[in-house]
Symmetry: C2
Subunit: 249 residues, 2 copies
């Protein structure tokens, strides 16, 4: 089997040139991406395209003004969307029962698969993309700027543009670290040490440890990047927002 080298060579792009990405190109890429798999062919998603400077500036704080958000020519906010489907049910004499966790979860999978197919298509056409994980942190702010109705919840945002220079490829764990055969083979202490050793020994990892005054790379994740307190605050904000959008969590 000969796997297209694009897949193992792709990299996330966080720095973009001033070149535009046309509306017609975005439209064509979304149209192709819509053929990605979707739950029961319900297509439980919408995407909001932000190109206008005022709208972008209104979104930036929600994305903590990270460079990829500020530098991108276009932001695409991918949302789990039951609004369209429920409206269709209601005007078709059907009684919808989708205000629950399982339905929301289906919409999240649909949305993520659609977003990833869009990312692949964009990258294959020479564009650069970066997911903004901040979308789930400040979903209420994003929803206000984009005027999302009930039953629509932001899931992820893709920053899009023409790459400025060559982005560096991120390292990955060895495939055996994530692949299990027939049953989950839980990790011994030695397995874990071996799986993460290459990442820990990288020069950039040692830099992250030093500049944050930490002893280990794992502490950079737990104390600096994803501290428990933040995770819990943003969990409550997102869960409350999902419930306010009519999905019982």
């Amino acid at each position: 089997m000969e796997i297209d080298s694009y897949f193992s060579q792709r990299r996330t792009v966080r720095s973009f040139t001033d070149a535009e990405v046309s509306d017609s190109d975005i439209r064509a890429m979304l149209e192709a991406a819509m053929h990605a798999p979707t739950t029961g062919n319900m297509q439980l998603y919408s995407v909001i395209i932000t190109r206008d400077d005022e709208k972008k500036k209104a979104l930036w704080p929600a994305h903590f003004s990270q460079p990829a958000a500020v530098g991108a020519k276009v932001l695409l906010t991918f949302c789990a969307d039951f609004n369209r489907f429920v409206k269709w049910c209601e005007q078709s004499g059907a009684v919808p029962g989708f205000d629950n966790f399982q339905s929301f979860f289906s919409a999240v999978l649909d949305t993520t698969i659609f977003a990833q197919q869009f990312v692949t298509i964009a990258e294959r056409n020479g564009l650069g993309t970066c997911y903004l994980g901040t979308t789930t942190y400040n979903a209420p702010d994003i929803a206000r700027v984009l005027e999302l109705p009930v039953r629509v919840v932001p899931v992820t945002t893709v920053a899009l543009g023409v790459p400025d220079g060559d982005a560096v490829q991120s390292p990955r764990l060895p495939v055996d670290a994530v692949m299990h055969v027939e049953k989950y083979n839980d990790y011994t202490r030695e397995d874990i040490a071996s799986v993460y050793a290459p990442l820990e020994s990288r020069e950039d990892s040692r830099g992250f440890i030093a500049e944050n005054g930490k002893q280990t790379l794992a502490q950079v994740f737990t104390d600096v990047r994803y501290p428990k307190g933040n995770n819990e605050v943003f969990s409550k904000i997102y869960r409350d927002f999902i419930e306010s959008q009519c999905f019982e969590v």
Copy 2:
């Protein structure tokens, strides 16, 4: 912009020949798919490969014995996984704070993006795939068969094999039905009617309505395929399971 025709021509495959897909091919495809984007480069996922007949038979009831599950040579269960990462933190002098909804959600996005990249790679190499949405319905049963430890939650399953014949492509909504510019443009009654009209007028749709004794296609979705009662039962099962796996929902 010239978009590779694969993307707009792809179709889901639910019927497979007896031909095998080798372990080395699966491994190579997973290795390439691991370069898909992942939250903070944490790779919060695992995949369990089921090829053994006894294991497959044990999984089938959890997937309601749907033909794609039973006919596939291999099932790949993609799981949100914080077990590996938390073990690494704990043996690295770091105090993890990931037992919450936001962290679980990040892992779900990572897992779904990884699964979709695998699907694209498999399809590009002539293989057929079908997502099994039943994975979130009967997650506790799947977890028992695959011996998943805490902090590991099944998110989706990909049935994989060599396509048997030509699969039919599913119709999709027009791109303007899911694409919004600068703000969410909520749908009028006329918009909804127009968006769903092509789907409703298809011969197969009229067949679904007739064979289920319904008046509209939307009723097939609400009364037959995704009834409220089922959605609520499976919501509770999945949410309770996620909590038992150490993520506060």
